[in-house]
Symmetry: D2
Subunit: 239 residues, 4 copies
């Protein structure tokens, strides 16, 4: 306490030893890259929960975490699994070897009709700036290793095949960097959960001061006609 940061102690808990400066810097960057978020669906779930149960902050935070499932966190874990499956047990990390493995990854996805994890972005079609920054810091801290290189080789191959630029998204980059830090794919799913809690808390603190959940609910009711699954009009909470 006073000597080590929260992220140091986090890594101590997870790995069993106090991290190097590089390790802490890299994890700080990962957590920062995925912690910044606005009025996401899971934030709405948390705020709606607080509306009915203001006595239990932990319940509202838990509700916000429960939406952090496959659709949000799946990409990082799937990318890590895809990369670690290829890299495991290999020792030749020459450019040629990496290119061959990238070919194998793409062929496997094509054969199994699966999408290649970690590629594409609905807005940042020219490149996700968070990916660029994560890989820069990975190079500075020594965690730009074979998993990151393999993912970039996969991307290059996919761009050639499709004849257009396909960006690496930040979720995929997290999956690659976490793998090069020595973590199992599981942790690519776990770090975003850690990163998400401060944002949920910030939203809930705001909900106490300047509530929006009740108006958001009324807005949805008005637009939807307020008829739910049971075909009935809703009643006022608590009445």
């Amino acid at each position: 306490m006073g000597q080590h940061s929260f992220v140091d102690v986090m890594l101590l808990q997870i790995t069993g030893q106090m991290p190097s400066v590089e390790m802490r810097t890299m994890l700080d960057a990962i957590l920062v890259s995925i912690s910044d978020h606005g009025l996401m669906p899971s934030v709405l779930a948390a705020r709606m929960t607080l509306l009915g149960a203001p006595e239990a902050l932990q319940g509202a935070v838990a509700a916000g975490l429960l939406g952090a499932g496959n659709r949000y966190l799946g990409t990082s874990q799937l990318t890590a699994e895809m990369l670690q499956r290829q890299i495991a047990g290999r020792t030749d990390w020459s450019d040629e070897a990496i290119a061959t493995q990238a070919q194998a990854v793409v062929d496997e996805c094509t054969a199994e009709k699966k999408i290649v994890s970690g590629l594409g972005h609905p807005i940042h079609t020219d490149g996700d700036p968070r990916t660029v920054r994560l890989f820069e810091i990975a190079r500075e801290t020594g965690f730009y290793g074979p998993h990151c290189r393999l993912l970039e080789a996969v991307q290059k191959l996919m761009c050639e095949r499709r004849g257009k630029y396909i960006p690496l998204n930040a979720a995929g980059a997290v999956g690659a960097v976490v793998s090069d830090m020595g973590f199992k794919p599981f942790m690519a799913r776990a770090f975003p959960l850690i990163a998400r809690v401060p944002g949920l808390v910030a939203h809930l603190a705001e909900e106490f001061e300047r509530p929006i959940a009740h108006q958001a609910w009324e807005l949805i009711m008005r637009e939807s006609g307020g008829v739910g699954a049971s075909g009935t009009t809703p009643t006022t909470p608590g009445a």
Copy 2:
């Protein structure tokens, strides 16, 4: 199985013995009275959760339950506590005795500046039809006892004091009937949780078939400017 209903077995689990027909009829009526609900905030929380974590139905149902806190369920439990505290240990249940106790309840609430639980309704100002029906069934099944009578005496007194009709709401009626069935106040909070799960499941089944969560989220984003606690514009889920 095949001989006893789900509600019979529910009462067996909770009380340790198979219920009488009257007991089961009364609980069925209570559960039905509180199970019917539309697009409530907790339903939105459940649907928003499914949007991000479609692999974990249990998580979406849990998120829906987490909003069933003091603001929704408090009234039934508080009414049960208020009534049971007065009735406990008494044997004189004459109309006079009940009237005296009603006076004591109202005086206590006035002295402590607390609202009287179970009274008032934002829409049904002339009387909540669910309360009327619950008390009818309570009379038919033999569960209209001192707690129900005390609550009605409290209501009568409050109407006189205020010089206008104040209805008994359904949440209060549930607190009174559950007390006359012999349950502790805790169960006035627990039965609504049981009653709520089928409605949540129905909404989530609907969300799989005809999703509305994503549009509801976009609607809120559009209206709110999409700026959340962190002052940043939100990004697309999973990207």
Copy 3:
């Protein structure tokens, strides 16, 4: 209220119409068959949660539901998916046609190295009595249809192949019956969630009266040496 049971209204919410007597009888039997449970891991999760947050009953029930995932509920849904995939679009339900489809199911599982869902039981190796009773009631109510028949044909084939009796378990039977009632596989996962809540409530009511969570925790601490992930000895809650 007073005319229809909780299970009637449950089916109204889920299907949009009031059920037939047979439908309600069958669902009552399904819910009863899966509602009876003892001190399961998810019950322990609920009791441990109540220990730290006695103010939020909804949180303890939610914690108990969160453990109702693939390992518990997967079998019913997987069985329903396996059966519905085979049955969909077919009209020939002769014994020969069903036998051919059973062959297809088993061949597919063998080819994909997957286990056949719904078969086997660690204790009831001579037959799960709940399965027998569920199929009896399904016959009485008219819901013993092609999905149930296909599952029994699959079982017969597997017994022949393995040269020994392999029972149909109750989770598998639920998957088959729910399919013959016209529900999607999703509901084979949803009904057990509904069935589980009263049992959780009963355990939590017991935990308030005769708590066991604290002793259970101390027991585990004593046996495990109390050293967790962080390598530290735990401290007393709240201190």
Copy 4:
């Protein structure tokens, strides 16, 4: 990203501005002081949840958070409320004024028969080392202000009254320091939720690698006779 730590961004999200070095150092110390934990009841809840739902890491983390309620987190928030109620609107922070207010706090607790929040510890009867360290860092960073001083004055008074040493516990110290950092009592409840997630993740990572939940469950079953609320012996999960 790369320039600011996770705790910097956390404070940006919560306060709306990038923190000073002192602010970040103080919050790091607070999070570290409450993040270290062993095999707590909430950790068992998380592990038991993962046992049944290994597909949904977010559900197991949420289950672990749901036990972080009044019994664990109440002390910090109650201490913050007690102190902020006294300090609010005052400008005279001389030793005499603080002593007078301490007297008022103790008198109020005595009158309302409430315990004084933040005092006492079951093990560290001679003083909680985390409290000492937190106040040291608060002095170094400039956050040892009237709330911390008031809590120490309250402690001094209580020691005199009882004629024995009563320690300030870490939960109370967190409530005081958070108040002197300018946060509302709500945040004294929220920071421990943030601090708890990495520990839960570390335990769940361990549960995947070296599971203990199943044996812990069997141990409890063996010792308790395995008879739960419904009076029935439990069955094997998933069967």
